[in-house]
Symmetry: C2
Subunit: 381 residues, 2 copies
């Protein structure tokens, strides 16, 4: 078993529920994660709260209502990777011996924000580009370089909406057809409305512990075999960068875990826009560079496919994307898969899984943060 394990996970449904407030969302996710871990709030020794847009003190204000005041609480922010960064910080504390049991929670309330989400004052945002625009540029370049088609892009949404129909926590639970995706309103060419994730409100939580604690407690711990965090190089070069923040994070995490992409049974990756799943399945090595569209179209990443099942939760496109909660929700789905608890969307005999979360990664050169985790079910069922 690796040094650190996930003992339990929880999450709210991702939907429009701003009026409930962050404390209620966090409370629901944390209570489920504690129950799933078979632990009580008193067992948690330190907490990490990830949110991209929350105001100061988000963790303290929400966690004191679930009995976690008095102990260390740290708020972390890394754009859309805020939640997965909170998990990474919990792992750092566990590995450092600063605690034996830690909580990571991510939360975001987006549905009450009118218009586009706030961006930085970097020159590229000042030009008028926004997040769909950046991903659209990536999609156009990928189509030009590798022949990815509009139908392949749209098929990402079709696959993920179909999977989300089996996930009661997803924002969208109705399947859509390829025509519906292609015919939906154009947002940023080539990305139509149904290829853009919805603004959602939600929270997700994970209880983590040292391997020694996990062994003592029993239960069904999922081992963290590899974890990595990178940021973009912020350097513009002609054409594509030779190695993206995502690729570097993948290489580091796979190296720690000593795994190859073909070993993976399940993957959750950052499909904030349809092109995201294509780019990140390539970064994860599920196919050669540029072949992500074909991989998807072949059905290899769908249920029963020959490669890893990708985004069984429905992904960001169908499950929704409350920024700070997303990275932990991805890990939650992987934990359920590895514990055989994913019901109708279960990948049979899932043993090894990976999650890739991209923070402000609408272009890889300047990603704020990319996290990759490799999880393993230590005792195959």
């Amino acid at each position: 078993m690796s040094e650190v394990a996930i003992l339990g996970v929880g999450m709210t449904r991702f939907t429009r529920q701003a009026a409930r407030g962050a404390a209620a969302l966090v409370g629901e996710a944390v209570r489920e994660a504690l129950d799933h871990a078979g632990l009580r709030a008193a067992d948690i020794q330190a907490s990490f709260c990830g949110s991209a847009l929350a105001t100061a003190g988000a963790g303290q204000q929400t966690l004191k209502n679930v009995g976690l005041a008095g102990r260390p609480i740290i708020n972390v922010e890394n754009a859309c990777a805020s939640g997965s960064t909170a998990v990474l910080e919990a792992c750092a504390w566990l590995r450092a011996g600063l605690c034996e049991v830690a909580l990571a929670v991510g939360v975001e309330i987006l549905s009450d924000i009118r218009g586009p989400l706030p961006t930085t004052d970097d020159w590229y945002f000042q030009t008028g580009l926004n997040l769909p625009g950046w991903y659209a540029l990536k999609a156009s370049r990928h189509m030009h370089e590798y022949g990815v088609t509009r139908a392949q892009l749209a098929a990402v949404a079709v696959k993920n909406r179909r999977l989300a129909a089996e996930n009661s926590r997803a924002y969208f639970q109705a399947p859509v057809t390829l025509d519906e995706v292609l015919q939906s309103r154009m947002i940023a060419d080539p990305l139509t409305l149904l290829q853009c994730c919805p603004k959602a409100d939600g929270a997700a939580a994970a209880v983590l512990a040292t391997a020694a604690f996990a062994r003592r407690r029993g239960g069904r711990p999922i081992a963290i075999r590899g974890m990595a965090l990178t940021s973009g190089t912020a350097v513009f070069v002609a054409g594509q960068p030779s190695e993206s923040a995502g690729q570097r994070a993948v290489l580091a995490a796979y190296g720690q875990a000593d795994v190859e992409p073909q070993d993976l049974d399940v993957v959750e990756c950052h499909d904030a826009f349809s092109i995201g799943e294509i780019l990140y399945t390539e970064a994860l090595g599920l196919c050669a560079p540029g072949r992500g569209g074909e991989l998807l179209a072949s059905g290899a990443t769908s249920p029963g496919g020959r490669a890893a099942l990708v985004n069984p939760s429905g992904g960001l496109l169908a499950k929704g994307h409350p920024l700070g909660a997303t990275g932990i929700a991805q890990l939650a789905e992987l934990v359920w898969q590895l514990r055989g608890e994913s019901a109708a969307r279960q990948r049979p005999q899932a043993r090894l899984a990976a999650a890739l979360t991209m923070g402000a990664g609408e272009f890889e050169l300047d990603a704020n943060a990319c996290t990759v985790f490799v999880l393993e079910q230590p005792h195959p069922t």
Copy 2:
């Protein structure tokens, strides 16, 4: 030597300089810290940016300009303890073996905020209490319980303004008299204007490394012997809490370092308001509970006094308090003291030092975060 050491520190002057922008302030502090450590940006493997009020991506936006893009960058927020929490996270990564050399930076721009700083929507802020009001309540209670006098409170500002006169990085560099402090405008009885820290803009940075790296590099590393983070219990009880967030952090850090308060040569503690220094010298055990006013009045914590020299930098009252930068600036002063680099405000033969930083700790029951660090000069000069 302990497992983790500070190799170098840097900070801007704390003053009104909002127009320079966060990137310029961070750049100045980081370059000084790297020079002080004898390292280059390329040596830094991970960075942690603390800010209480910055918008998303503060670390990435500022650190890419000093050559730190591409590697892990994590933003942390813990109110006024954001900077010291960034140091703590760097230490966690170093102790966890996630990197060998890390940077912590804190930054805040406050002078362009009109009126009171933003607070949470907790009921006690909704009553109209603000930060000076909370500390004023603490001061009134302390006067009632222990007989602390208005003159003792005011004398904190006199001592710290006198020390700041020797610190070219301080906001206020002119000494003040006891009468001037007592006669300045009343802000929240008993706290007059000169007993409240000024809104300042600034940044501070620290380069940290594993003990193994520090030994290989030579230089003058300062060992971190103890570090602790607590939060308030958020539970109201009659009278004073039996043990505050500050006291719990002090006990934990002293326990790790195996030191007693009388061993300390220098202390930096959170005098955002004059009563703060009195409360926190008590929490640090420099005197018995309730005796902080007498300790100060006796001159024991002034230059040449019998106890630890307290707030040689001028403290928050005179040096200024750019929230996220404060915790690292406190550690910077301690590092300079322990390296014998504090010029006219140097405590001779300083060997052991402690810093206490209180995040949203205007009342201890509900502090968002309190950090305590114990630093040691490993090779007495």
